[in-house]
Each structure stands twice: as C-alpha cells, then as structure tokens.
Amino acid sequence: MTALLELKNLGVTYRTGGGDVPAVRGVDLRLDAGGTLGVAGESGSGKSTVAMSVLRLLPRSAKITGEILLDGEDVSEMRWGRLRAVRWAEASVVFQGAMHALNPVRRIGEQIAEPIRLHAPDGKAQTEAQVQARVTELLEQVDLPRSRAGAYPHELSGGQKQRVMIAMALACEPRLVIADEPTTALDVIVQAQVLSVLSKLVAERGIGLIMISHDLSVLAATCERIAVMYDGELVEERPSAELMSSPQHEHSRALAAAFPTVGDPVSRYAPATATPLPPEPEERAGADEAPLLAAEDLHVTFRDRKGKRIHAVNGVNLEVRRDEIVALVGQSGSGKTTLARTLLGLQKPDSGAVRYAGKPVPAGGAGLRAYRREVQLVLQDPTSALNPAHTVYEAVAEGPRIHGLANERDVVLKALESAELRPPEKFLDRLPHELSGGQRQRVVIAGALALEPSLLLADEPVASLDASVRGEILALLLRLRRQLGLSALVITHDLGLAWNIADRVAVMYRGELVETGTVEQVLLDPQHEYTKSLLAALPGGTAQRTAAEA
C-alpha cells in the first residue's frame, strides 16, 4: 500500500548571509492513511520545518533535499499549478497560534469559504448557497454557532479561533491534516476541548493527522505514534504509550520528565535536573509561624475599553510563609498576574491590604523601596525581561545600584554564583542575546538574588522555556529554598509545576481564590468544581486517575 505521506531522507537547509544552516537532516517518516503521528521537539529542533516542507510552505531561502511523497507523488518535484491544486485539497494545515494565521480584516465565513470555492470538487463551480451550507456545516462540526461566520477574528476567543482553523482545514475533505502546535497558548481546559474536537473529526473521517508539539502529553493523548526530533534529526519514533512509559533516547526522557504526571510520587519535589537536589533541611519553619507576605481581602478593579468595571482581584486572602513555595494556579484572565503586581506595589488595590512581615506595605517613597529589596520579581520571558543593550553585569548590578549597595562587583559575582552561572566571571560581559533561554532566566534570578531578598515572586518562570531547561530552573528555585530558606510565590497555569516544587497551592478563578491547601490536598483531593475540571483537562491525566482506570 502506498503511504499517505512518506518522507525519505528529508533535509532542509536555510541559506543565510553567514552560509548554509541545516535545519533538518535525514528525516525518514511514514504515515498511513488514517494514521495519527505526533512530532515532538523543542524550539529549533526542526519539527515545524518538517511540517511546512510537506506543502512546500518554507521561505524561499530554504533548500529541500530528499523526497516528500504525498500519496506517492513527490511534492518537491511538483509544478506550481499541481502544487496549488494539492494544497488544502489533499493536505491542509492547522497553524500554530490562530491569532495571526487568520486574516484580521476578513470575516471568518469568507476565509473558510475561500478554499471551498478554490478547490471545487470535480472541477465544477459550486453555487453560493452550496458554499454557505458547507461553511455552516463545518462551523457546526467544530461546535461553533453558524452566526459566527459573520465575525472577524478579533471577535473570537483563542479557542474559537483554533476551532475556525480546524473547520477551515477540513473544508476540502483533505486526506491529511498537519496541526502545528494547535493548542499552544491555550488554557488547559480549552486545550482539552480543541484536542477532542480535532481527534474526533479526524477519526470519524479517516483523515491522517500529523501533530507537532513541544508537549509530549498532548501528543500522547491524541496520536498513535510519536516521533521525537532533536537538533534537526529524528532521534526516536515509537508507539505513544511505549514512548511515554520507557523513552529510550536521552532527549525523549528529558521531554517526558518536563511534563510530570500530577500525583506521581516520583516527580514530587523532584523537577528534572542533572544536578542532585540538596536534602530537605532538618529544621523547617513551621506552619504556625507568622506569614512573611500576606494579602488581606484584596480588591482590584479595572475599567475595560467599554468602561465596564472588571473585578480582576476580588477579595483575595493569601499568605506566604518563610521557607515555603506557594503555587498560585489559574488560567489566563483569572487575575493572577494582577494579584502579583498588586503584591509588589506596582498596582494600587481598591481596598484591602498587603502586609510584609506583619506591617502594611507603604504606597510609595523610601518605605516602598525598602520593601522592594525584600520581595523580588522574576518574569515569564527572560528574553524581554532583560534590556537587550545591557550586559549581564549591568543587568545584575541594576538592583544594587538603585539601592546603593557597596562592593557592587562582589555582590554581582555572588548573585551569579547563587543562580548557578559558573564561573560567574565568564558571564559578566555577555549580552542577553548571546545566552541561552535558561541562562537568561538565571540572569534574571541573579538580578533578584543580588538584593538578598527574602521572597521571590515568579510569574510563569518557565512558561517560555524549553522543556529540558524547565526542570533546571525549577530545581534552582527548590534549591534556593532549601539552602537559603528563600520563599517563593510561583504564578503558573501548569499544575505539573506545582506538583514538582510547591508546598502549597492556591487556585484562582475569576479573581477569587477558590481553593487553598497543601499540594497533596488540592491536587489529589480537589474540592472545588473548577479545580476538578482543571485536573480533568490535563492531557496526561493524573496518576491517581490513571491508576484507577487501569
């Protein structure tokens, strides 16, 4: 039988000013009709390049070698006319981040109808009524009301846009759908919905699916087989369950460990790291101690563009004690970042108070500055959290300079050392763009440590980092707590992160804390409906549930 898609010794090279850069080398892959294949890898592993090469959608600077056989026909040899006919009719794409993949000034109905008109079956032009009927049918298949056809992309939520992309991909009944990070940047519950719509439709129609993702658990939940790519090469390809349970290649193991199964005792207090963690110190501050940082009945409201009041933070009580890591979990829009900004005094609360070591935090002046030495911020994206024109030295020294600390150089070196950038002297004159993502995040952390704070407030500290780096940064936070007694409030959408390093969890939903407790209490025995649905939406499931089902 001819494979639906077969890649033979595929290589892709980008011609740049500085010579040829190979992006993909010697990839062999095969997908039979109706099969599902996941391609996993970190950014820069070449997985998206492989996906885009199937329809020859790479930029002009890309040079393809090897064969791309779509139904036995080599795509790289096709003439333009044939290629245009094959595109979307034979194989279609669900693009990453539907935000920009839809034309912002055209109605989504028109955008879905466009390929239907273009690739009319049997070469006969369809009547307008037929096209509209088909658009409606497609929208209904992805659970969107037909009235949404008249909407513009910006009027839809992220999940809805991704559904539109799926409807569009199915418009011409292709035999192959390539989904490139279809759920990245979606909240976990929306992600679960989109994945289920996609899997259901693909299965019903016997469409072959290639899904690209950095998240192994997403692929495992959707695909029969998973291929892992690393540095442009295919390092492992096996059935999903097998790969998840016993990954062979070291990189597959790193990917698998990066997304721990909640409830799995192996990954509790054990983020994936190459260096062993120090043991838990014998004397830990007790739970009965007075809180270090506390929010008391905090309210923050905004006015949106229509002038409507939005209660971003609605009566939140939260405590972080000395020597503990608290995870604040919630989806985007739940108000968790606003809460963090308010705790730091970057946002004024409408009512309620923030207390540090029992005293209210002053609203300005020297008092606020003194407070900001004690509580430090670590941001999500280290690339943008560092001024691209400042060297590592300047970035780390920024805090000490503001607060006029003596012996600046020693302070900086010590901070870099604590953030595990070794030897620190080597990094002093580097600029951010010369560092890897993980190193940048360490520089941000070093900048915070330079002021010897007693609490770190980390807003999605690993969300924009590659899987293999994620574990190392989390391990650093855990080490800092165990060795220096540094508390942390970690804001995240990732329950696995909480399971990895946190002592307590607070779940935030629509501006309110709906559930607070120890990690084990909240994640293994959730009380609130919202927490339950968050756990249920985890693509890898929880260990408890998996065990119960087995």
């Binding site: 329809l55 959608l57 290629l83 245009r84 006919a85 094959v86 595109r87 979307w88 009719a89 279609s92 794409v93 693009f95 981040g97 920009h100 993949a101 839809l102 034309n103 912002p104 000034v105 055209r106 109605r107 466009e114 390929p115 273009l118 690739h119 513009y152 910006h154 009027e155 569009m168 563009r305 229509k306 002038g307």
Partner: protein, 342 residues
C-alpha cells in the same frame, strides 16, 4: 517642510494599536468631533496670537512703509479695535469670525473672506486632481515594488521616488517651465483668447492645469509609494499569508485578497493625515505658476505683508486640514473591522 513625515516613519506614526481601542460608535464620533472643534478653536487662538499679538502694533506695521499722520493712525486704531484690551480684542475677533468677518485686507481694502472665496476653487481643483492621481499612482507602484522586493523594478522605483521626494516642489515647477519652453501656459488658469463655450473653456483650464498638477503629482506620489511599500513589506511575513498560500491561492490572489487590504489601512489614513503637506505644496507651486488659488494669495499677502489676509488663509487652511483629519479618523473606523466592532 513640504514633507513633514519621512516615508518610513509614516507607517510607524499610523500606530494601529492606538486605533484599536474601540468604544461605542456614537461616543467615538462625538469624541472625534469634539476634538476637531477643540483643534479649530486652537487654530483660531493661534491665528490671533500670531497675527495680532506677535507683530506688536499692527498699525505701526501697516504704516511702516507709508507716510501716515497721527490722525490717520488714531483712526486706524479705532477702526481695527486695537485701542481695546487684548481680551476684548480677542472677543471681537472671535465673534467676527463666526459672522464671516475675517477682517479687511490692508492692501486691497476688501473683506478677506471675499478674497478667500474667489481663490478657493482653483486650489481645490489643483490639489484635488493632483492628490487623486498621486494616490492612484503611488499605491500601484508601492504595491508592485513591495511584492517584487529587491527586484530591478523595486530598486529603480524606490530610487526614483526617493529622488523626487528630495526635490523642492517649486524648483521642479521652475524646471518644467523652462524645459517645456512655452508648450504650456506659464501663468494663471485662463487665457484671454480661449474660445467661448463650456468645452473650450474647460480645455483651456486643463491646458493651464497640466504643469502645476504634474509638479505636485511628482512629489506627492513618491511619498504615498514609499509608505505603501513599507506598509506592505510589514505585512509580508504575516502568518495569514502563509495560510492563504497553503490554501492553494495564486500569488496575485494572495496579494490582492489578503496582503493589500491589510497594508492599505495605515496608508489610507496617512493620505488624509498628510493633507497638511499637500496644502504646503500648493502654496509654492501656485506661486511659481501664478495659479490664482489660496497659495498665490498667501504668496502675494506675504510680500505686503498683508496680515489680515495671511491670518484668514491660515485659519481656513488649518481648519480644512483639521476637518480632513476628522474625516480620516471616521473613515478608518469604517474600513477597519477591528476598530469598528471592538
């Protein structure tokens, strides 16, 4: 100053994020109208400040080249109302404007408004025709150049546009005058010997229009072309174009249906926002070709100097630009769905 904004910055200035803050349509329209009214008021204040206060005593100014006896000066002062306090003067001036009283020309001793009225339509004809042609030509060339980026066409057209953009308009006009050497009339908009009848008269005006219109066109199109080019280049790497290509659309359809509509939005606004520079161009070109419009009026008044006329022209032109911008803001709201329904 004939080019207030560099072409590449223009795309940055039409900051799309800023326009996206959608509110109710009525509220939006009312806000914009209120802003325009405030701007016109500011223009009027500025006009008063510039032409009544800054020159000092306008009577001394008027009398500086003419022998005038003290009695005449006193009479003039009373007639102009400048023996009153500044605030009262402003009040009179302001009320006068709304009654159509823009003052009286020092030189022609006629109401300024009448003089402006006579000169308005020739300017509208000249600037209007040049703008329409320049927009059409500029957008077309800009789209082609951006799509065939770095091709010979792109390089040549960008080079030509940059050169035209560096040319002072009045000099280009002078060159055309010398180069065509009497092929086209060099002055005014009518010939005394043109035949009677609407057709012959129109042909005569057209004959006079060609050179000044070409001069304006050459400089304006360059700006629109450069803006359209850089705006389209900004869209070239957009993800939705990859989607369109993946759908199997032909290259020209990708461009026409997807890329251009997005790139056009900032450019269209800019065409209106740049109306002020268009007006500036009219002043110098009309002076060169003695085209009997507002520009020529400004030029003549400048040599008087005829301050009431300058003041009137300033207020009229500046208010026209404010109105065009109001129109641009409202048009943008109609064109861009993101603003309309946000």
């Amino acid at each position: 100053m004939s080019q207030a904004i560099a072409p590449d910055q223009a795309a940055v200035l039409a900051d799309p994020d800023e326009r996206r803050g959608g509110t109710g349509t009525l509220r939006f329209v009312l806000t914009k109208i209120a802003e325009a009214v405030a701007s016109v008021f500011l223009v009027i204040v500025l006009g008063f400040f510039l032409f009544r206060l800054l020159p000092g005593d306008p009577v001394a100014f008027m009398a500086r080249d003419r022998p005038t006896d003290p009695g005449q000066i006193a009479e003039l002062r009373e007639r102009l109302g400048i023996d009153k306090p500044v605030l009262a003067q402003f009040g009179n001036y302001f009320v006068g404007l709304f009654q159509g009283d823009f003052g009286e020309s020092y030189i022609e001793r006629r109401p300024v408004l009448d003089m402006i009225g006579e000169r308005l339509w020739p300017t509208v004809l000249l600037v209007g025709s040049a703008t329409v042609l320049a927009v059409a030509l500029g957008l077309w060339l800009g789209i082609r150049a951006a799509w065939k980026r770095d091709s010979f066409f792109d390089r040549a057209q960008t080079g030509i546009a940059l050169t035209f953009w560096s040319v002072p308009q009045f000099w280009l006009g002078l060159l055309l005058l010398v180069a065509t050497n009497g092929l086209f009339p060099s002055r005014g908009m009518h010939s005394p010997d043109a035949g009677p009848g609407f057709f012959a008269q129109s042909l005569d005006v057209l004959h006079h229009l060609i050179l000044p219109c070409l001069t304006l066109l050459a400089v304006f199109y360059a700006q629109y072309m450069l803006v359209m080019r850089s705006s389209l280049l900004g869209e070239m790497n957009a993800d939705y174009l990859t989607t369109a290509r993946a759908k199997g659309l032909r290259d020209d359809l990708v461009r026409r249906r997807h890329a251009v509509p997005n790139a056009l939005l900032p450019t269209v606004t800019l065409v209106f926002m740049q109306f002020g520079t268009v007006v500036a161009g009219a002043v110098t070109v009309e002076a060169v070709f003695s085209w009997p419009g507002l520009g020529q009026l400004t030029y003549d008044a400048l040599h008087g100097p005829d301050l009431p006329v300058l003041q009137g022209v300033f207020i009229v032109l500046a208010s026209a630009v404010v109105l065009m911008n109001l129109f641009a803001e409202l048009l943008y709201r109609v064109l861009d769905p993101r603003v309309r329904t946000a």
